[in-house]
Each structure stands twice: as C-alpha cells, then as structure tokens.
Amino acid sequence: MRGTARTVAVAAMSAVALLAAGCGSGDSGGDDTSAAGGKTGGEITVRGCNPENPLVPSNTTETCGGNVIDAIFSKLVHYDAETAKPTNDLAESIDTTDNQNFTVKLKQGRKFHDGTEIKAKNFVDAWNYAAYGPNGQSSGYFMEPIEGFGDTQCTGEGDDPCAGAGKAKADKLTGLKVVDDYTFTIKTSEKVSNLPVRLGYSAFSPLPDVFFTDPKAFGDKPVGSGPYKLDAWNKEQSIVLSKFADYSGDFGGKVDKITFKIYQQSDAAYNDVIANNLDITDEIPTSALIDEKYKQDLPDRNAEKETGVIQTVTFAPTKVDPNYADPKIRHAISMAIDRDTIVKQIFNGTRQPATGWVSPVVDGYKADQCGEWCKYDPAKAKALLQEAGGFKGDKITLSYNADAAHKDWTEATCNSIKQALGVDCVATGVVDFATFRTQIGERKMKGMFRTGWQMDYPSIENFLAPIFKTGASSNDGDYSNPEFDKLLGEAAAEQDAAAANSKYQQAEALLATDMPAIPMWYGKTTMGWSDKVTGVKITAFGTIDFTSVAVK
C-alpha cells in the first residue's frame, strides 16, 4: 500500500469480520504512486507539542504525547493510514467464536528497542499495569471490558480512593491468561464484538520487562516496539526519534530520523515551514486558512483529509438547566444553525457539516442520521420553538473554553440562532480549559457548551458508547435512554460486523429524537510541508503517516 514493500497481513478469518473487511477491501496498491517518490534515509523535523504525561502508552490520552507514542510503539493491529481499517501488526491472529473469549497469537521475532523479543506476557503485564487503580494510569479504563476490571479499581471515596478499605482487591485482570510465549487469551465480562478493532489503540501496546523495574525512568526514555525509537527527549524543546534497525514489521518508515520540534503556537510552526526551517506542520493556523492563503504560501505542499473528529454542542443535563429539556427546543436550536455558511466563512471549508453523531471515516458510518434536524431551516425552527411554547429562559448561552480557538465559531453559531429564533444567544468564554471542564464535570455549567470527540479507535461504537451510554465517562449531558443502552449491548454481542453496525446505527437514530447534543461538523486536518519532503500523507487520526514521508 505505501511505498515500502509490505505484505498484507493475513487476518484470522473467524468471527472478526471487521478485521477481515480491512484486509479484503482491496484498497491496497492504489493511489500511492505519487507517494513513492523520495529516497530512503535523511531526516525531517515536524511540529510537536508538549506531552502532558510521561511517555507511557497506558498513561497518554492527549495528542501531544500520543503522536510520539504512536510512532515508537507497535500494537497488535495497525490502522491503515488511508482508510483506518485495522490489519494485524504484532498479532498473527485474533480469534473468537463468541465475541467474549479471544485468543491472540503473536508473530515471532518482533523485538523491543532494547533487543528483547515481544512475548505474550509483555501484553498481559502491560494491560494489568494499566488497569490497576493505584498505578493511576489515565487510559486504564480502556481495559474495562476485560473480566476482573472491577476488582482492580479502588473503591474508596474522596481524594484518595485507594486508602484503607477502598484498596483495590486484585492487581491482575482475571480475564487475561498467558498460554505460551506467543499466545494469550482475553476474556471480556460482556460480549464485545469490536474488541480486535480497539486493540490498535496505544493503551494496548506491549511493554518490555525493563518498564516494570523502573516505570519512572521509562517514562522519560521509553523503550518501544515500533519502527522508530526514541533517542532523546529534550523537555519542552524537542523529541528525537530514529529508525529502529531491528524493526521487522510491515509499517516501517523511509526517513532515518524524525525530530518533533515543540511549538507553543501553530503560527510559529507555520511560519517556519514557509521559511523551510520546519518540514511538516500538522496544523495550519487560522491566519493562513483565511481565503485559503496557505495554498498560495505552500503550493502543492499542502493536504487536507477528513479525520475521526466531531464537534458537538451539548445541552446541560435537565436537572441543571430545565430550559432545554424539551426535544422540540433542542431541534429548533439545531435547525437554527447555518452550518454551511459557518463552515464556509469561519472555517474556510476546513470542516464538513455534520449530518449525524458518527464520523464518516469509521466503519459503520451512516449518512444523514440526524435528518432534517441538522439542516438549516429558520422558518421551521421558529415554528418548532413556538410549538414548544417558546424559550423559557432569558437567553440561550453557548459556553466555550477561551484558551483555544473556539470564540469565532461559537459566536457565529449564536448569531445564527439569534437571527433564526429571535431569542438572544450569547457565546460565553470560560477562561481556560481547566475551569471549563470543571464546571461541566461538576454539572454547574448551564445552557449549552461545546464538546469535541476524537476517536480512539476507528469504530462507530467509539462515537456512541463513551459519550451517550448511561453513566459513561464522557456523557457530559447525563443522557440516559434504556433503549439506546440496550441496542449498544445487542450490537456488542453481534457476531456479524454488518449486523453489529446496523444495531449501532439504530442506536444513533435515537439520538436524533432525543438530541442530547447537536452535531456541528466533522473535523478535517490540514497540513503543510517544506520543499524538502515528499510523500506527506494524513492518517484518519489526523496525524502524519510516517510510513510514506520521505526526503526529496
């Protein structure tokens, strides 16, 4: 698929239809002749930002650290850069007959950067470590489906849930068993049809033995398993990666050295790309998006691609703000938003107006799930509002965190609502993300507020369960619909991927009726690069595809 000679991994053709679909879709070979240019070797610099946490896969959920982790760790499955379809990487096969008991067989001979071979226990130990509450890993909850997760969590109350009686009962997940060096089994507590798709997320990376002797030192200089290894992390300045000589997987890169140069502002990075001081920036600043200025600045050196990101506007839970409880009012507000004009004028076309709650890049996406409610129709919106008895509060508010670029679109959205409904609407900036999230978390935020979701793994489920399932971790609007939960459960039990997707789609359709959040637009990533590099491609996750980048 990419320029490198790569054999298409043979996935286990069992019930794991999603994987099979990834391999059988026949998209290999296609469009990348242009990317095949450029020589092997050389070094590139790319825009980076400051990792918030030590570089441990199970403790990184934000993108700054995530981009680095992705390059230096191999996972069981690899997501195709173009289509996001999973194919086996470290896994030889992932088999299941009932969506609950999975057997993972590993490829032999794959190595960590310290030369040790990747074995089954490296996965089991890593996942147990991630799950165990007292280790305080941020992505521990990805292990939640695995049997025995509950016992690994601390149950106490207050600031230290691990103190005294609250201490976790077990430090191992009972659902994980090492069979031999290259085989282990996973048992989930409920049926999870898309588990193999999830296993490409960085939290499921294997960790070498050296991690467990000193996790702290590891976080500074991680020993990974991917095509690139970390040479140096100069805090707040740069992160230097170089090609791992013993890498034997199929997703190796062309360049020898990648330096993530850390920038505070995307404008600075962009200016450096123009001046050829930086090779790739994965973010084009607004100043260059206006009138598509970047296409003049970087002719033929830019690209745009839809990514698994969706921007939504969530309504505060009804008990916090009853003014928005009536779905008719929610529909009226949604129909009052002129998404097309906002995308055109504010985002210069770098977003795609949303027609549902699931990103088009994932398997299972169905267009137009939101139907007429997501189409701009001021007359109908006003009629709906009147039908609902008008808006009871004194004005509609749309809150955003003022430390990022959300002011322009929230204000434009409010103007659109104001003009269509005749109800005052104010875009309210909350000083920063910390304060913003706290107000939402404590359920003190009234009115509407912006919410965004970036997929962890390319599955329709990832856009529904973590956000709208009753009690889910990112369910900021406290949405709860038994029917929705039931459909999610049924979907997870489906043996057939298409059948599972159809259940998920039915669940998504319920969101159109209840409207817990208004879909705004799907994300796109725009990149620009210097004239020294070629073959720059954007993955479905909005990151740089390091398998295809090359120096001219």
């Binding site: 600043p285 100043s287 206006i290 103007n415 309210t428 900036g429 000083v431």
Partner: protein, 308 residues
C-alpha cells in the same frame, strides 16, 4: 464637551501652589492662557471630545447595530454599504469602531486614574516619610510588582464571578490592571519625591514650621508631579493596548462587550489577507491614545511652575 474636559483637568491644578503662596485663580488662568495658545491643545481636545461623545452617545454616529452579523458577507472590503467593511463575523466594522470607544476609553481612564491615585499616594508617603514607612511600603509594592501581570489578571478575571453586566466586565479588567499597576507608579513618585525633598524651598518650609501635610501638598507634590503626569498619560494608551493584549490571550473583555481591543485581537488572524479588519479599530485606538497623550503634554507644560 471640551470645556468640561478642561475644567476637569484644571480643577486638579490649583492643588499645586494653592494655599500659602498666593491666589489659585491666577495660576489656573495662567495655565489656561498658555494652553489656549497651543494648537496641540485644540487638536487633542477636539479629538477627545469626539471620542467621549462616541463613548456616551454612539447612536449619534451610526444607526447600525454592532452585533448585527451578516455572516455571508464576512470579511468583505470597505464598500458603500459597510464603509469600513465587515469583520470575521460579518459585523459592520464602522459601527464596531464607534461602539468600541466606550469600553476601551473606560478601561484606559479608570485604570490610569486608579493606579495614579493609589500609586501616587503610596509613593509620596514612602518618599517623604522615609525610614520604616518607606521600607514597608516599598517592600509591599515589591511583592505586588513581582507578580506577572498575566497571573494577576487571570486570577482576578477567573476568581471574580462571571457576569453579563457591562460595567462589571469592564471593572474586572480595570481591577486586574490596577492591582498590578500601582507599584510602578508608587516607585516613580517615590523617586521624584526623594529628588525634590532636599531642595531648599522644602527645607525652608519645614524650618518655618509648616506641617508635613502642608509641605507635601504645597511643595512636594506639585514639584514631583511632572514625571507622574507624563507616565500616566502614556499609561492611558498603554492600558487601552493592554486590554487588547488580554483579549488576545483570551482573558480580557468578553462579548457582548464591544471594544477596540477585542476587535483588534480578533482581526490579527486576518493581518495578511484582510488587513482592513485590523486597520480601522487600530486607527481609532491610536488616535485616542494620541489625543490623550498630547493633552497630557500640553497640560503639564502649562502647569509647570518653573515654566513661567
């Protein structure tokens, strides 16, 4: 309007040498006579009058609502319908410039007046009293001065409850600027006072048995005031700019408040592509700053006792 402005500034003047040295009236009228001859005085007064009128009665200048967005026309260049063009949201820039005067001038004026009052008072006492009072006040100033403006601003703007009230939004920004701005004024005043204190006329007044209050009021303050006025007039402009910078960092004035600073910071992204969005509010801001500093200059020259 200009008369009121003059009355305000000159009414502060008689404190200079009022009291025991002679009739205040002659000094004020002296100053007035000097100012009247300066073209700068008339230019700046006229500008300030226009800006104040804009701040008080914006609808006199435009009938367009500054919050009426025409998104489909966003960023259009100046044309017959929108004289200054439209901004990112499709707001009429001309109308925004007119309505923005109020918040910007309020922030500038209030911050300047308050920092000068607080800082000046502290500085006079520290410089005149010396000794422990000086040490205590100076060190107190140091503690506040050491806090970076932004930390203080974030804290003031975050800890105070969010509000929709126009004047409270403005006051929050003013408070942030004053809390962190007074020590520089205090230090400046103190150094001037230290410089003035050893002068013969001060020593003479003290020897003659004048009370410390009278010495400060009649001799120290008038003679130490000049650097303060210069810095205060410059500060007025700087505070209007500072408000813009706070907006740029996302912690300044909040919509629905319209201000030049908010508009300038929002327009920076279009610097390369749609510079008219940046140019017009910047022009208004620069003119306002220019007018205030010019007036400050003229008034200072006119009031300076050594000038006559």
């Amino acid at each position: 309007m200009s008369d009121a402005a003059i009355a305000e500034t000159t009414s502060a003047a008689p404190t200079h040498e009022g009291g025991d040295t002679g009739p205040a009236r002659s000094l004020a009228s002296d100053a007035w006579r000097t100012m009247r001859r300066s073209p700068f005085f008339w230019i700046s007064s006229a500008l300030i009058a226009v800006f104040l009128l804009m701040a008080i009665w914006p609808s006199l200048f435009t009938s367009t609502d500054p919050t009426q967005a025409v998104l489909s026309d966003a960023r259009v260049r100046p044309n017959s319908e929108a004289w200054f063009g439209r901004d990112i949201q499709g707001y009429d820039i001309y109308s925004r410039c007119i309505y923005g005067a109020r918040a910007s001038i309020l922030v500038g004026l209030l911050s300047t007046v308050l920092t000068t009052l607080v800082g000046g008072t502290v500085g006079v006492f520290a410089g005149y009293a010396g000794g422990w009072t000086d040490t205590l006040l100076s060190r107190l100033g140091d503690i506040f001065f050491a806090i970076p403006l932004l930390l203080g601003a974030v804290i003031v703007l975050v800890t105070l409850p969010a509000t929709d009230n126009y004047f409270l939004i403005v006051l929050k920004v003013v408070l942030a600027l004053v809390v962190l701005g007074w020590p520089s004024m205090a230090r400046l005043m103190r150094s001037s006072v230290i410089q003035v204190k050893p002068n013969d006329y001060v020593q003479a007044a003290r020897a003659l048995g004048a009370s410390p209050w009278r010495v400060i009021r009649s001799h120290i303050v008038p003679n130490a005031l000049a650097p303060m006025i210069v810095v205060a007039t410059i500060n007025l402009g700087a505070y209007i700019s500072a408000e813009a910078t706070l907006s740029y960092l996302g912690i300044g004035l909040q919509p629905p408040t319209v201000s030049w600073g908010v508009d300038i910071s929002a327009a920076v992204v279009g610097m390369r592509t749609t510079p008219h969005m940046l140019f017009f509010p910047s022009l208004f801001l620069s003119l306002a700053v220019l007018a205030f500093i010019m007036l400050g200059d003229v008034v200072r020259d006119a009031l300076d006792p050594k000038n006559r």
